[in-house]
């Protein structure tokens, strides 16, 4: 680059050139430089160069999507490390976990970190979905990203479920036995599907290998691809929805600030704080491990993983086709359809849409809070459909009829809202979703804290302590 009249630059050493190429120049000092840095970076350019300051409010998004991504990264790293000390074979898998706990440097810590991150991810992903639901952020043009997100939630559950079997202890074996048996109730293809997933007539070595391969290759690859697309889509759809208070009529105009440092700094601090907290938690609380799997002895009680206990609770009350297939299928269909029939753009970004929406949500959640435990108790001690309808097929007497009896009041309440209060689509959606979601949370809590030996109802302090 010598030009006429300019003195030739001093020749640089090879090490100078290496440093220039490999070590960044330091952070840019003006907004122009900051914008250039975002635009030119592979990772950072998932963000826009500038963001409206108002969307950075911590109390709007709660950082839940970002935390999910942090947990995915932690899971990827700890998962890869764990691969070096694991054999997907019976009984070696269990022996490897024992070895990992007692004889591998930091083995227990890595396992705990992986275990707790995976469990936290389920909670965070569900909360993220709830946040997006409550602020109406799934509405056009964000329909596709809502679907991608829901798909990722299913994959996260699948990743958790396949990972649950890998330690090959009693907890793993029976949770997977119960979980995969639900598959066999799929009409027509059920037995075939269940055999395909299990690789045989019952949970065994082939199941372990199937689940292992799904857990370490197919599912994480798919999640990574969808996650990248999800981020990109957020940007394409115009970033986060603009937060707005219940009393603000118009979407506010917000000042735009540069992504560096305003957004990136927050993200880094947030990620670091969570990683530190998880590390401390993983040091203090060991992941559970029970005795080696024994196909002859089901533990009492035998419970599915905690995130499926709401489903297992339903299975106690309904025929498996209703509890395992029809109800989850209807819920999945509702989630899928939501952004296509609840489309009002006016209330996007407002928690609960309006004051009335907020009251309706709390009303329905409160109703579910009272009615669900009541119904669990009634069904446990008083209702006995199959005895009252002798000779009826179990699918009717223990399935569709009680289901209809339960859904009827919800339907009537919905009608009442429409007739007496002229409730519109978005208010009815809030009401029904608030009821169903709260009811499911309570069923899950009942399954976790109130079910003991023989799946009878117990107080939490009467339950035998799980694990060792």
């Amino acid at each position: 680059m010598t030009e006429e009249g300019n003195p030739a630059p001093a020749p640089r050493s090879m090490f100078d050139r290496m440093r220039e190429r490999l070590v960044p120049d330091g952070l840019p000092e003006d907004d122009r430089g900051r914008i250039r840095m975002v635009v030119n970076s592979l990772v950072l350019h998932l963000h826009p160069a500038k963001v409206p300051e108002r969307t950075l409010r911590w109390t709007y998004s709660w950082g839940l999507g970002g935390l999910s991504a942090v947990l995915m990264m932690l899971l990827g790293v700890t998962g890869i490390i764990l691969l070096n000390n694991y054999t997907p074979a019976v009984p070696q898998a269990y022996l490897d976990i024992l070895e990992l706990r007692s004889n591998v440097w930091f083995g227990e810590l890595i396992r705990n970190l992986h275990h707790w991150s995976a469990n936290l991810l389920i909670i965070v992903a569900v909360l993220h979905l709830v946040r997006v639901f409550l602020t109406g952020a799934y509405r056009p043009p964000r329909e596709l990203n809502w679907l991608i997100g829901a798909g990722m939630l299913v994959l996260v559950l699948a990743a958790n479920f396949t990972g649950y079997l890998l330690p090959w202890d009693q907890l793993a074996f029976w949770a997977i036995t119960v979980g995969t048996s639900i598959l066999s109730y799929v009409p027509l293809a059920g037995e075939w599907l269940s055999r395909l997933a299990l690789g045989g007539p019952e949970v065994g070595g082939n199941t372990l290998l199937n689940f292992y391969s799904m857990h370490i290759s197919f599912i994480p690859l798919l999640i990574f691809a969808l996650m990248s697309y999800h981020f990109w889509r957020v940007r394409k759809d115009g970033g986060l929805t603009m937060p707005r208070g219940l009393d603000e009529a118009e979407p506010p105009i917000s000042e735009r600030v540069t992504t560096i440092p305003h957004l990136v700094r927050k993200e880094l601090v947030f990620a670091l704080a969570w990683i530190a907290a998880l590390l401390v938690f993983a040091m203090l609380v060991p992941a559970p491990l029970e005795d080696i799997a024994n196909p002859d002895v089901s533990p009492n009680p035998a419970k599915a993983p905690w995130y499926f206990l709401g489903l297992q609770e339903l299975l106690l009350h309904f025929h498996p086709l209703v509890a395992g297939i029809i109800l989850p299928g209807l819920a999945a269909l509702a989630v899928f359809m939501l952004p296509f029939f609840d489309t009002n753009p006016a209330s996007v970004g407002v928690y609960f849409r309006s004051r009335r929406g907020r009251s309706l949500t709390f009303l329905s959640a409160g109703l579910a809070l009272v009615l669900t435990p009541l119904w669990v108790l009634l069904d446990e001690y008083l209702l006995n459909w199959s005895a009252w309808l002798p000779g009826w097929p179990a699918l009717l007497s223990n399935g569709l009829i009680p289901l209809a009896v339960l859904l009827l009041p919800l339907f009537l309440l919905d009608e009442w809202l429409v007739r007496s209060f002229k409730a519109d689509t978005e208010e009815r959606v809030l009401f029904i979703a608030g009821f169903v979601f709260t009811a499911f949370l309570i069923l899950t809590a009942v399954g976790i804290f109130f079910r003991g030996p023989g799946m009878g109802l117990y107080w939490p302090w009467e339950l035998p302590v799980a694990g060792h």
Binding site: R195, L198, S298, L315, H319, P453, G454
Partner: protein
Amino acid sequence: MTESLPDRKPSRRDFLKLIWAVFGGAAAVEAAGIFIAYLQPRLAEGEFGSRITVGMVDDFPAGSVTHIPNGRLYLVRLPDGGFLAIYHRCTHLGCTVPWDQALGKFVCPCHNSQFDMPGNVENPPAPRALDLFQLTIENNEIKVDTGTVLQRQAFDETQVVYA
């Protein structure tokens, strides 16, 4: 060719598009079929699933229930002396159902389904009676074919085998 009328003849391009779609679709179906076939269960021989000899008729007193772990079954001898080979897997969600001698019934630890000695449902959520295996008696020797699971709604006399 300029107007796309509904009844115009397919152009060469339309035809080629159709051919691509048909063959592309066929290739996708084949690939999916290969993948599913590849995942089919591979069963080892001599494991659970073969015909096993359980013991002699006189080893089992009338009114007894004996667990045969390698056959995944209970050999039930009813009070009248008849035999049943009952699969130990709960018809609800697949837990192994233990025999409770004190209560005189099968009680599933997973969801509290209960079955009487011949396997009938006494308490749901189990949707049907415990499954059976085919049982034969040759020269006082009891043999059970664990390869085929026989599903039934409820117990009836024809299922019982006598020595």
